[in-house]
Symmetry: D2
């Protein structure tokens, strides 16, 4: 019961790293949305392994098929089943993982929880699971843009200790896609790419921070109390592999301000109520206030490194492990589109919830 | 549909700041748990206004009543209804809020979302809503400790720019309760208290960071993919008023390490599989690994300050607002028990989920 | 986790027969609905014990209070907490129930499931639980009528073997309330009342059938596959105490027709697509087709009878039981408003679901 | 959000009648259950078209594949994705349905709800959707039998006005499968088969009743109030295409008894508390009492008949329709395994819920 996300626009992902296929079922997608397989594929291509010289060299085409829910180019309101068949499997590369737990992976906890696991490539805990999220996220993003011109844009702002200067404007997709690391500041991007290549050649790995913004958000999305917009975004981000932190608006740095510095004064601009600053990150009391939503997610360094590590085997005996296989020395470039997908899923879901409460009744 | 939290141990809170009462219904509490009204009251007393000279001087006894679900000292498995009647209401103090939106509060977003709001004291967006969480959290904590000696302990580690030294050992309740700010380091606590008094006398406010740890956690709690333990903890924390960030284990600082530094080597200690370090914060692949769970939550400075601020009224006209009323210059001391409550709710819920999957079937 | 009903308009009931109070929390009620405590009380008065000479002589005023969610006569979109305090408790009347299981009651199954129960008056299994349903149902009915003139009307069509002639037109509330048994056919009603008095004087009980109709239902409510409108109505009815069966439209009798007789031909009337007959009962493929919704619910004879019965005690020893207390010899007259409440809850919930899917996106 | 069923053992079905495939994702299946593709196929073969001379002559092999969740013969606790690819599609046979609404089908309501539908073979409203239910039900039945020898057995008791004598003992699978109509009484079965052939040759159709029993049910399954075992069974049955009624135990006929006749006296047999009769149908107060669960479901005559019928087209113009295609003159023989599947899904789900509440905590 952990493989579904969303209340109204609900996705269920399935599939293991080395199984025959991975996929997602979208339940609750409104009818009459024009959507093509190419639009979904475009997002998957941004997540695909082997797309640049700083990602894993594994080759997977990750071609998506639509098995249900779309008829004559339009959604029909029934479940959309999307599937990606696997191609480049080298199970032999993972034999050692059957007996030994990889440090800071899910091998040990899966074994402890289930008493039985598909060890090949991490099985269900593999980042390959996120294919379903990205495919469903592409549909969610289409809804947001098609209906209200809402745009979700993520990009890398930190790799290891290399930090990009603040990104002033909402970056275009082209600015983000201009380099392999997906940092809109070109100079910083070049240094980040260099760092990733360095650590890779040392058999090591690095992490960093992805920032995400959403613009054209209507006022009123998000529920008070438990299902605040920022709470659901936080859950969405911390549900991604390798994430260790989330912050919205002023975030952790906001703790260093006084209230008189932190409060966002209300002003009237262009006939709309706006805030002069945006320490709130676009959400107040759990509900969107019409400003840009801005949040950041911290990713730890990739757990798989090509160095000998101390660990134990499934019998609890201490041993050593030297990982084989082809891995990303840094997950962030490929995670950008995953962050966008999850943010879009949260927003569509809250938009539908808002519709359920607000647009039905004409009191 | 935002006022419930949890899947198996599910709470629903209700009530507004200046309504006649606030409360919570707990659905799914196992039967035969011994619980007394005094145990619940003890936690509410740690949240209560007026408890020290650095909190709001408002006087509320916050006395809880059990209306259902407990019979002859034991839970019966049916809903537990807990209610706290209000006493110290001064609605006059909030008249200005009917027309003017307080900056960085929920006044504007509630008005925009619902077109109608109980403006008195913030209505439902008031921190008074957390009474229900703390009351339910007391029941959850009783379950955890009673059944498996699991303990949840939160404490303040930062107020404004005053940062406590790392807390090495799991603090006792007495160490946390030893001072009004609930920082287990006495010297730091004294400086924090001084800072809070300073900003209060200036009509200003400050925020900070609360750390929370859980010990004696069984291995195997948490679900892969969306309902990871850290994802549900993140949602729980970001569902609290005034929170802006969450991190687990190494958190944002972990982005500065390389994989070879960050990975937690597995070792065997005392016949159990353990990790040599705990950058993972007790969770791997979304599932508890038996180490201490450690996470931190960032709270912004209190939005209510006793200074004149620029804002707009409900007609969009720019104006000024000078808050009246009695407020906390810093919410963290009273938020410690709320953090503990939410963490306990997440853990009990995941424990019951794990039972549903694992203990039923003897294959 | 069984005490909540609904996905968007979600109610949670709490309270035991002999506890200090019973109540309900409504989560998801749209904002700006005008509602008064008197409107809710009016429905509770139709459920109240002691209302006529064929119901239990117990005296309970069942006065409802609104503790949250309504401000200046309008709902605010936050949870509505409704409570009814208990008055006429005679716990002594139930002492024997502590040790002996009443036949065809829930005493044994609660004891087996929970190992501990509030035996007084059946505790949570008492029909007193339905107070919360009726109170919430009153709000749901107000929404339906206020927004779209949708009306829900239930009435008794069978008591024991006395069967009313088919009810041709949608009965008025006055026609239903014209007699104590709530059968709109006056002659049949008189015979039903006589039968109920007979069985009561013999210390026995009877059951029967309640029919319910809904008119002015918009086309399109209900979800395909699992959450069909008739499936949710069936669940709602079978969730009521003492119910043994549900049927919609042609129901069980429809099995005696051939397809050529049973199919509802489509016709055009008054510019709308209609069906010439209504064997479908207003629902096709799980979705409302704009015709009247018509369904029936079977209630067994009241389990509590004033005759000596064979049973066992909590130690499994065979014994006898002679019930005391004041009971309804037939629950149907008081159940009419409960059926209406549950039907209204299902319809409001599906209406909000439909809004979430259909009205948000303007493709 | 209507394509999922269950809380702990949750299935999501997808796929349209004439799409490339149909399937189901099972989320929450416990780990370490031995299961083979052949066991799932065996149930699908009982649902398959073309299996006898009284079902549709359409040929579909309905071969199932396991795409995830099973490793080395055991479930792993992660989602099980099952898919059946389509083979025998004759879309031409359905061209007329694009413009004309078939009476008593879902064509009109889907068009009204979604404004767009896959008309081919009924799209999502086709009984082909139940393939996913049967496949998931096979896994659920394996759990029930493997863990506790719980058996679910359905069979036909009525076709049109031909009613089988009461089935005294729990029938064996062989007794049910002994004839094409799946009625365990051979003589009645022969008459039923004859009747079905008659109506088919007249281009007409018939309905009837399926009874289902479950034995070896532990005491304590089912939740009080809304999620009563009979309420969830009723929902499960009314979620099936063509169903119009549900009754448990004494059902509608129970309304003709007095309480003194209907109550099930408790007795002690073989050291266990039992009931002398079973009018309750194995459930009291919503919770299983350890007796056999017995319920019945009414199916209307198949809506598709090979006769000219009056209807309207999508523009509301009155017209006539003569169905083509290959159809079942009576759905009941193929629906027997679907009823069993849904019952098994309800029971497994409640068993897991019970485990969550009861077996976790050792107070």
């Amino acid at each position: 019961m952990s493989n579904s996300f969303g209340q109204n626009f609900r996705i269920t992902t399935w599939g293991e790293s080395h199984g025959p296929a991975v996929g997602v079922v979208i339940d609750g997608c409104p009818a009459r949305l024009p959507i093509t397989v190419e639009e979904i594929q475009a997002d998957l291509d941004r997540r695909r392994p082997g797309q640049s010289d700083i990602t894993t060299p594994r080759k997977e085409a990750d071609k998506v098929e639509i098995l249900s829910g779309v008829f004559e180019g339009l959604t029909t309101g029934v479940p959309i089943s999307l599937v990606v068949h696997s191609s480049d499997q080298r199970p032999g590369a993972y034999d050692e993982m059957k007996e030994k737990f990889r440090p800071s992976h899910a091998d040990y906890t899966y074994q402890a929880k289930y008493g039985h696991r598909d060890h090949r490539g991490g099985g269900r805990s593999s980042a390959r699971e996120t294919i379903g999220r990205v495919a469903a996220g592409a549909v969610a993003r289409k809804i947001l843009f098609h209906a209200r011109s809402i745009e979700v844009r993520a990009y890398v702002t930190q790799i290891h200790d290399i930090i990009a200067p603040p990104v002033r404007n909402f970056p275009t997709l082209e600015e983000v896609e201009a380099n392999a690391v997906r940092c809109p500041d070109g100079d910083t991007a070049a240094r980040m790419i260099e760092r990733i290549k360095q650590v890779r050649s040392a058999g090591d790995s690095v992490g960093g921070i992805i920032e995400c913004r959403v613009r054209n958000v209507p006022t009123g999305l998000g529920e008070p109390v438990f299902d605040r917009l920022e709470a659901d975004l936080a859950k969405a981000m911390l549900s991604l592999p390798a994430t260790k932190g989330f912050e919205i608006g002023s975030g952790f740095a906001g703790t260093l301000l006084k209230g008189s510095q932190h409060n966002d004064a209300f002003v009237t601009k262009g006939g709309r109520i706006r805030t002069a600053t945006n320490h709130s990150g676009g959400v107040q009391g759990g509900i969107s206030n019409g400003e840009e939503i801005v949040f950041r997610t911290a990713f730890k360094p990739t757990a798989t490194i090509l160095q000998t590590q101390k660990t134990v085997d499934i019998h609890g005996t201490e041993t050593e492990l030297l990982a084989k296989g082809r891995h990303d020395p840094c997950v962030l470039p490929r995670a950008v589109v995953i962050v966008e997908a999850m943010a879009a899923l949260v927003l569509v879901d809250h938009w539908m919830r808002q519709a359920a409460q607000n647009q039905t009744f004409r009191f």
